[in-house]
């Protein structure tokens, strides 16, 4: 009763191919955009904008990238951190080598460089699959971090190995990086980039290339026999995925933390993003956002819950509990709902079609 498609008649294929075919979904999306673009910047505190929304948006973007590669194309990757680092350090080199370059070009240029690196490390995927590919991408993760750490050129020979984003502006005089930038400006810029790229991701996965990726994931031999070129399709997934991760890395270094060292993108980051898509839902755009929200918000909730409930638990105990609850949840999702929160959401919608009537 509450959620229904009854009475929605699609008379053209164009309408049937729309992203949201049900008016309710369209209106909810408009509502979410209104909250994200208008309400949150107006009422959000420093803490909410800076410590929750920024990392949430940026990691959701990285999760989106990984979901294209792993969830849609079926290529398990543990190199997300490495590709994010590539984006961060490419953005730094671009911004310091060409000081006049516009921030938008810097961020997307960094994404393109990360895409090229992704293609390079995606080549073994033609021969190796599954866990073995995961090991190969893990090697790329360690190699990339080692490279940025080892060669001073990437950090412009800074003694600490840390890169700091130079102050950059958009629309002439609005600072979005550096110490003078306001959190609202940073938030709005990040949000715009993430919304734009999420739209691109959605378009890709509902087009021919998205069907080719899913075909390769579901049955690669049949895909090859109906004419899908295996290597090219996989490399496209690596390129798009690394582009997203690269942009996420650049945003992380330039807008979220401001300065960053290679270790911020170590293998733990790769696992964090992988857990996001497992919990959020493999092969779902929405899943990337749900998973990122879950993994960012859960530790905050777990930290504050004992105080809110009036329990007196030691902080080290809380942080240990965090690990335990996290581990348990991941095992739970892998066993009970491998399609994650996104699947739970669509099940809920199916229930709401009938509720409160039995059938």
């Amino acid at each position: 009763m509450i959620y229904r498609e009854a009475g929605v008649y699609k008379t053209t294929y164009r309408a049937d191919h729309a992203i949201f075919t049900i008016p309710q979904d369209r209106w909810s999306m408009i509502g979410i955009f209104a909250i994200a673009f208008l309400l949150i910047p107006a009422v959000g505190s420093e803490y909410w904008l800076g410590a929750i929304m920024l990392p949430f948006l940026i990691l959701a973007l990285a999760a989106l990238g990984l979901n294209i590669l792993t969830g849609y194309c079926g290529q398990l990757s543990l190199g997300t951190g490495g590709f994010m680092a590539t984006g961060a350090f490419s953005a730094y080199k671009l911004a310091t080598s060409f000081p006049d370059m516009h921030i938008v070009l810097v961020i997307f240029g960094a994404g393109l460089i990360a895409a090229a690196v992704g293609i390079l490390f995606g080549i073994p995927s033609l021969r190796i699959k599954g866990f073995y590919l995961a090991v190969a991408t893990l090697a790329s993760q360690f190699f990339l971090i080692w490279m940025f750490d080892k060669f001073g050129w990437f950090t412009n020979y800074s003694a600490s190995g840390v890169i700091s984003a130079p102050p950059m502006t958009i629309f002439g005089d609005v600072f979005i990086t550096g110490p003078e930038a306001s959190l609202v400006a940073k938030y709005m810029f990040t949000l715009s980039v993430v919304v734009l790229l999420a739209l691109v991701a959605k378009n890709l996965v509902r087009s021919n290339i998205g069907r080719e990726w899913r075909a390769v994931r579901d049955m690669d031999i049949a895909a090859e026999i109906i004419g899908i070129p295996m290597l090219r399709t996989k490399l496209k997934a690596f390129a798009v995925s690394s582009f997203f991760c690269g942009v996420a890395g650049a945003l992380w270094a330039f807008l979220y933390t401001g300065s960053v060292e290679p270790l911020a993108f170590d293998v733990n980051r790769s696992f964090q993003v992988l857990f996001m898509i497992i919990i959020g839902g493999l092969g779902s755009i929405m899943g990337a956002f749900l998973g990122a929200a879950f993994i960012i918000l859960l530790p905050i909730l777990l930290n504050n819950l004992p105080t809110m409930l009036g329990l007196n638990i030691r902080t080290d105990m809380i942080s240990h509990m965090e690990y335990m609850i996290f581990g348990a949840l991941i095992v739970f999702f892998l066993i009970v709902e491998p399609h994650g929160l996104a699947r739970l959401w669509s099940l809920l919608k199916e229930k709401l079609r009938l509720w409160p009537f039995p059938h």
Partner: protein
Amino acid sequence: MDMNERKIGDVILALDNISLSFGAMKVLDDISFDVRQGEIRSIIGPNGAGKSSMLNVINGFYHPQEGSITFRGEKRKEMDVHKAAASGIARTFQNIALFKGMSTLDNIMTGRNLKMKCNIFQQGWYWGKAQKEEIEHRQKVEEIIDFLEIQNIRKTPVGRLPYGFQKRVELGRALAAEPDILLLDEPMAGMNVEEKEDMSRFILDINDEFGTTIILIEHDMGVVMDLSDRVVVLDYGLQLADGPPDEVRSNQTVIDAYLGVSH
């Protein structure tokens, strides 16, 4: 069926002295036959005779050690999987090879991948060229969905469909490529009489309406003898017979292979 009305043309595909072995195992031994434009050509034989291997040679999935394949007048030692698909050879599989996580519609749309020309940037932007292309192909796919009478399952994930429907969707995916030659590997295995009749009707209609050449592997002799123009018989990789159904049916070597013979 009226044989006189159908047009059977020149040889479109010729296989000459094909031998294929995996290590010491000889799967195909000196097989030669040809396929004419517009005919229904069956390959029969007991289990393990090399029938599926023959199809795999035709669409380039296996590369024979000896012999040659002449397709549309072009002679080559072996086919290439991608080129075979691009030059109009489509197939279905003995064990259904659908993309389980995708809907019926998406599975059949995937069959048109070679005809979709928009690049990744146009698809990423979607509006404009990519949308137009998507809708054009959707129309073609809907024609196939109508033809196979699977309108009510177009949005259902194929993993949830019953076996008979999965076979139909797989046929739809192959048809979506608008092939010149359609390779069908046991399209009626595991079906009941009614489903077999439906499938036979689809095969005849495809051949008749679209003029598609069909190479068919099937174990139901009644179906094979009724549908086929010519039948080639394999056993243990050897070619036992080749000819019209009546001739093959009365061939003593074929009868011996199927029924067994005392030595």
